[in-house]
């Protein structure tokens, strides 16, 4: 940097028109200057001319640009172009020596020595002393430019130099003006292009000053932020609101020195919709100390909506994914809970999933290497793969439900047993009909086949059984028929027998009636008195007739009992009364003997349910027998009942002739009497005990005998308190 003294360089006092430099040289300068149409070449011509003709060593030409208010380096000789281009002074800086020189209208000398420095002056000429010569006429307040020249004698500036400076000044002023005009036009054009460009941008673009006032706005911005009087009320209000919102957003970012980005919600004045903008604001210095802000508003309403949609879709996707996962877990649970093997395969039969039962058939258990097991698993796999690939053979059609069924023969890898399975497969396609998988369930048919086999067996056995039953039934029917016929015959025989007995009885009784009747008439003396022998003999007839009648009656009883036609009438019977009746009936017989007859009744005899008439007949018979067969001594009848016992005992004891042990069993048979002659003498029929025993049986009772020959007998009738068969 050169610190130069500034010394006014007085113009030469004398006119030097045509003096130093020849007219021809001057003319060539004029011609050259006029020939140039541009400022810089023009200046170059002038500077060369000065070096050649006016003793100038180095030179710099600077132009005052009223547009920018600056003094700008235009060209130079003996200096670097870069330093010329860099030369630049503010014309407003009125105290600057060069500015002063420019406005003084006179040449000024800047020394590099002697006087103290007023101010540092920096030029492309470095530390060299130089003359600053204003261009153009001195009438102008600020000339069109300055020439900085070295090599001139101190104190004087030749007129030729001044002439050339004036000439150059005029020419430069003219060219510069033209240039300025062209620049102006270009600027205008460029500005219009710029406006076209920024208007073409749909995003609103704004330039605002420090106070937020809008300096420049493109069409998009105007639409949002300006409203003519012709706009309706709503529009204007929306615009006012937008302005307010925009200003507010600007101020919140006023402190920022760099570009800022923020979101701003504005209103579309034409449609009233909310519009979301991303505002990119960049501070731009436009003047010294003054900063404007360029704001670009990008409509992100749709973007935001799209973003929200994307987020929503993403959220849904996640939900769907979770649901799918849950679905898959559930599917796994279901698959695993099925006892039948289930396999999910692709079209080539590659297994994608399987449940544990399937794993048992199609995988080798980990850890245990077993060649047999591996071979069986491979066999199963081959069978299964062949089945699955067979599903795509066109000739194989799915069943009505879209399922394929086939019976496969697999091998249990563990046991090596053949496992017949029914494979049921279904193709599963995605919604778009792609990504086909095949789900196959294998149903073990072992049990079914076993069941079928068993069923077969059962059916066969059943059939055999049915056949046997049929045969047996036929046989039975035959037997039944036979039996029925026999029963019929028996019934007929029985009926015939009964009828025969009845008839016999009837036919015997009728003549017996006549015998007994006439005997009776004669004994009664109806036909006159008889001699005692006659009477005696009639008595014999009568006795035998009575005996015959007793025999007939007994026979009839036995016949009735044996044919089951003996009617039984059960009623409540008080035994003491019954005994009284029996005693009354035998009273005449007792009277004809000298026997002591005793009665002993247990004090708490219950009433019993039985057939009164038959009990009476038995007791009467036993008692009669006792009286008949006891020549002397006593006869006793006793009734016993053990408390809580369900039967009573009626015992008839005598001190009679007794019965030999050998005869004690046969005595109950028909027509058996131990002592026949004696018995006959006593008028017995030989049927009494037989009838008694049969009647006792009918009443669910029994008769026992305890006897000793010559000492007497005890017959005991046991009767149930209630009939057992009731």
């Amino acid at each position: 940097m050169a610190h130069l003294d500034v010394v006014p360089s007085p113009r030469s006092p004398r006119p030097r028109a045509g003096g130093g430099i020849g007219a021809k040289a001057k003319l060539s300068l004029v011609e050259a200057l006029l020939a140039e149409e541009e400022a810089r070449p023009c200046a170059v011509v002038a500077l060369r001319w000065l070096v050649r003709h006016a003793g100038v060593e180095r030179a710099v030409c600077a132009v005052a640009d009223s547009e920018s208010g600056r003094l700008l380096g235009l060209t130079g000789i003996g200096v670097s172009i870069a330093s010329v281009d860099a030369f630049n002074l503010d014309l407003g800086d009125r105290t600057h020596p060069l500015v002063v020189a420019l406005s003084g209208g006179e040449p000024v000398v800047f020394h590099d020595s002697g006087q103290p420095l007023l101010r540092a002056v920096e030029t492309p000429l470095g530390n060299l002393s130089f003359h600053a010569v204003p261009l153009g006429s001195s009438k102008e307040e600020i000339g069109p430019g300055l020439l900085l020249l070295t090599g001139l004698e101190d104190g004087t500036v030749a007129d030729d130099i001044l002439w050339a400076a004036e000439l150059l000044g005029v020419r430069l002023a003219s060219l510069w003006y033209r240039r300025a005009q062209a620049e102006e036009r270009r600027h205008k054009r460029e500005r219009s292009w710029l406006f076209s460009i920024i208007n073409a941008v749909t995003d609103p673009i704004l330039l605002t000053d420090a106070d937020g006032r809008i300096l420049v706005a493109n069409a998009g911005a105007e639409m949002l932020l300006t409203a003519g009087e012709d706009k309706r009320e709503g529009w204007r209000r929306a615009v006012a609101l937008n302005n307010m919102l925009f200003s507010a957003s600007l101020f919140t970012n006023a402190a920022a020195s760099g570009p800022t980005r923020r979101e701003l919600l504005l209103v579309d004045p034409s449609e009233g919709q909310d519009l979301l903008f991303e505002v990119l604001s960049t501070p731009v210095p436009i003047r010294l100390g003054e900063t404007s802000v360029v704001s670009v508003l990008r409509n992100v309403t749709d973007l935001r909506r799209a973003t929200e949609e994307i987020e929503e879709n993403y959220r849904r996707l996640r939900v769907a994914e979770a649901a799918t996962r849950a679905e898959r877990d559930r599917l796994d649970l279901i698959l695993n809970s099925v006892l039948d093997p289930i396999l999910v395969t692709d079209a080539e039969g590659n297994i994608a999933r399987m449940n544990p039962p399937a794993e048992r058939m199609f995988t080798v258990p980990r850890g245990k290497r077993n060649v047999e097991v591996e071979r069986r698993v491979r066999t199963n796999d081959a069978v299964f793969t062949s089945f699955v690939s067979g599903l795509f053979v066109s000739s194989l059609h799915a069943g009505q439900e879209g399922h394929w069924r086939r019976t496969l023969s697999l091998i249990d890898p563990q046991t090596g047993k053949t496992v017949p399975v029914e494979a049921i497969s279904g193709k599963v396609a995605s919604k778009h009909g792609e990504e086909m998988v095949i789900v196959t369930i294998l149903h073990d048919l072992t049990e079914a086949e076993e069941k079928a086999r068993l069923y077969e067996q059962v059916t066969r056995h059943s059939e055999e059984l049915r056949e046997r039953v049929r045969e047996a039934t036929a046989e039975l029917a035959e037997q039944n028929e036979l039996l029925r016929r026999q029963a019929f015959q028996l019934e007929q025989a029985s009926a015939a027998k009964s009828q025969f007995l009845a008839n016999v009885s009837h036919e015997l009784r009728t003549p017996l009636n006549a015998i007994m009747g006439y005997t009776h008439l004669m004994l009664e003396g109806v036909s006159g008195l008889m001699t005692p022998p006659q009477h005696d003999k009639l008595g014999r007839i009568d006795a035998n007739a009575r005996h015959l009648l007793a025999v007939i009656n007994d026979l009839l009883d036995i016949a009735r009992i044996e044919s089951g036609k003996m009617p039984v009438q059960i009623e409540r019977v008080r035994l003491p009364e019954l005994i009284d009746e029996v005693m009354t009936e035998v009273e005449p017989v007792i009277a004809g003997t000298r026997l002591a007859v005793e009665r002993a009744l247990s004090p708490d005899l219950p009433e019993i349910e039985t057939d009164r008439q038959k009990v009476k007949q038995i007791v009467l018979n036993l008692l009669s027998n006792a009286l008949k067969f006891t020549p002397q001594g006593s006869v006793a009848i006793r009734l016993d009942h053990e408390k809580g016992d369900d039967e009573i005992a009626i015992a008839v004891t005598d001190t009679g002739i007794g019965i030999a042990e050998d005869n004690q069993k046969t005595i109950f048979e028909a027509f058996e009497q131990a002592n026949s002659s004696y018995a006959r003498r006593q008028g017995g029929t030989g049927l009494g005990l037989s009838i008694c025993r049969r009647l006792a049986h009918i009443l669910d009772g029994r008769i026992t005998l305890v006897s000793r020959l010559g000492e007497g007998s005890t017959f005991t009738l046991y009767l149930p308190c209630k009939p057992r068969t009731a």
């Binding site: 009845a502 009885s505 009837h506 036919e507 009784r509 009728t510 017996l512 009636n513 006549a514 015998i515 007994m516 009747g517 006439y518 009776h520 008439l521 009664e524 109806v526 007739a545 009648l549 007939i552 009656n553 009839l556 009735r560 009617p567």
Partner: protein, 131 residues
């Protein structure tokens, strides 16, 4: 030995067997009853309606109208309804006796029967009727 004809009860003895009729008729007459006889069911009905006896001894097995049928008719007729009828039969089975009671016999006596036992039954029936 007969009582006054107007007082003595009239017994109609019905039996198809001659000695059957004779024994009871003779004995009852001997015992003071008036006796009429009939040898079959039809005659029995005719005599009964005609004579209105005090007691009828009815044998059951009779040719033509049997004793059961004759009894039934007599018991259905107002004229003879109240006359006691004693069935007199050689049938010993309960069925025959039951059937006799069903058709209206007041008593059943099985033959052979001693004439004096029969007389007792006749008197019993007469007493039952008057009391």
């Amino acid at each position: 030995m007969t009582s006054g004809e107007t007082q003595a009860p009239l017994v109609l003895v019905v039996d198809d067997v001659d000695h059957g009729r004779e024994i009871f008729a003779e004995y009852l007459e001997f015992r003071g009853f008036r006796v009429a006889t009939a040898a079959d069911g039809l005659e029995a009905l005719e005599k009964a309606f005609e004579l209105r006896p005090d007691v009828i001894l009815m044998d059951l097995s009779l040719p033509g109208i049997d004793g059961w049928e004759a009894t039934r008719r007599l018991k259905q007729d107002d004229r003879t309804r109240d006359i006691p009828i004693i069935a007199l039969t050689a049938h010993a089975l309960a069925a025959a006796h039951d059937k006799a009671r069903e058709v209206g016999c007041n008593a059943v006596v099985t033959k052979p029967c001693l004439p004096k036992d029969l007389e007792q039954e006749v008197r019993r029936q007469l007493e039952a009727r008057t009391s």
